[in-house]
Subunit: 326 residues, 2 copies
């Protein structure tokens, strides 16, 4: 029993990450390769199949010991039908029947979900939400992904596109968002927007220690801005605080919509640790109602960048237990 | 079997409404009396018990044919524990063990839920959301109540205070809301706010055909404003449209959070029919993303003011089927 494993794959625009994951959510071994997405869907799918073969071989277990395969992918996609309709950062993907392909080429019962749901399920299963039944995860990557596990189940919604918390409107008639709406949370609070606005302000002549970094690198990363905050840079601190304030508004809206026990902050921005958490908690405390004592505990992701791959494997484990996979 | 009934009670600040409801969600008979809430909780509870006795007698069925009692109440409250912690518009209610009281004094298995959840369950069961598995209901009364039924289950949340859509922040640092937050949907879109703002503007000297109505009545009702819109009053139209725009933002946020198939508009403001629906749909179309085709169908409540009492009875029917009641 202990030698049973599930494969988790986290398909991103830059890398495909894969791992063999135990029933306890531990990564037994992992592999990563560049996505090379310009080749279109089929070579990428074949890469995934190859990676599964490699993992099985490297694990040194009979294939029968591998209970299933979970894939977390950008969407929109259908978990129910196992189809990726489109995928951000993956050109040429259109209505790709991924689940069937993986099942046929690996022989493993396969499950597909979007990357934010996979990460949320990972945190729920063995991460910062372990032992809770109701959690939400905000993945602060470039944009803002989100997933919710309510009553122990991933919330998917009728159109399988629930938990798009980054696109809640938090400022009516506000900033244009890349999604086409005005005033989305993502347009104010995403790390991508933070870096973009800092860049614009510095290029516009505002003083910041990051001018030199920008000059050298050509771009700013979230970690550069976090470091400048720690070094007391005023502009960086002001902009970081503003992003945290909007993230806190996202937390308040999650509180009122889902009423979860635990709210996990993940993604690259969460590497900033206390600089993120303390600020978000402070703004949440200042801005949320006190009418009812229903504030979630806000915490930092425990699984970090592995949330997606662990969660994808977890979905395969869960699907096996529920016997609901293809 | 056909003669089985469940009691539904809708406890409001002004009236207690009660009904005998069939397994098909039809009201067999109903009773109403003023709440007289200044008497505190116990006389109100005794009134409810009396109303149940009256209903049983009037129905002319043996008490054994009554399968249960559902109560929808203002909150915050606990469905799980059957306790009303506090109740808006009901002074003196504090941690009242309502479910146990009703069970002991009526002999009926009892279930408690908040009024917005009861109304949502009613619309899901036999109303505008009948046949759907995922719906949300916005009850546009004085404030904005909301309930969601996801996958056929009422969403309650870890703190049993989910679906407070009226208190999603839709305008950061915006208008103060009675809940203590800034920029809540309710502060912009509620019928109570609409009437309040119209009153202020007319008293401040802005021209409107409603000046005369206000003079005569001392207050403005939602229906007065709707009528003025139909008569072409410019100020009323402008303010009504603004409320509808914010309600559409609420619909967009529900779309992204819950991803429901159907979104029901209920409460007093829904009596305006097309004047509400057409405007909300129009703003929704203009403001919501087109990135994914996941817009809910927005419809008007089918059960109207009976949604709460029918839904409360429906919760009793559902609890009996699931055998989860006290």
């Amino acid at each position: 029993m202990d030698s049973k494993l599930a494969v988790g794959i986290d398909l991103g625009g830059t890398n495909i990450k894969s791992a063999m994951v135990t029933a306890n959510g531990e990564i037994a071994l992992h592999r990563s390769r560049p996505t090379l997405s310009e080749r279109g869907p089929n070579p990428v799918l074949d890469d995934m199949v190859e990676m599964v073969d490699e993992l099985v071989k490297a694990a040194g277990v009979p294939r029968d010991n591998v209970v299933g395969l979970g894939l977390g992918s950008p969407g929109p996609l259908s978990h129910r039908d196992g189809v990726i309709y489109k995928a951000a950062n993956l050109p040429g993907w259109k209505d790709v029947r991924v689940r069937r392909y993986l099942l046929e080429h690996t022989g493993l019962p396969s499950v597909l979900d979007n990357d934010a749901n996979a990460a949320a399920f990972g945190e729920f299963w063995v991460g910062a939400g372990k032992g809770k039944r109701d959690i939400a995860v905000l993945t602060l990557g470039t944009g803002i992904g989100a997933g919710a596990v309510l009553g122990g189940e991933v919330l998917r919604g009728h159109f399988e596109n629930a938990s798009e918390i980054g696109h809640l409107i938090v400022h009516v008639d506000g900033k244009p968002c890349s999604c086409g709406q005005l005033g989305c949370l993502e347009a104010y609070a995403s790390p991508g927007n933070l870096a973009h606005e800092m860049t614009e302000m510095i290029r516009g002549g505002q003083a910041s220690s990051l001018a030199e970094v920008l000059d050298k690198q050509g771009t700013l990363e979230t970690r550069d801005i976090a470091e400048a905050c720690r070094d007391g840079d005023e502009l960086a601190t002001e902009m970081w605080d503003r992003a945290c304030k909007f993230i806190a508004v996202g937390c308040i809206n999650i509180q009122h919509a889902y009423n979860v026990e635990t709210l996990v902050l993940g993604g690259g921005m969460a590497n900033a640790g206390a600089l993120l958490l303390d600020n978000v908690r402070r703004f949440h405390r200042e801005m949320a109602w006190r009418l009812v004592d229903d504030a979630p505990e806000i915490v930092i992701s425990k699984l970090g960048h592995d949330a997606g791959v662990i969660g994808a494997a977890g979905l395969a484990w869960a699907a096996r237990d529920a016997s609901i996979i293809a």
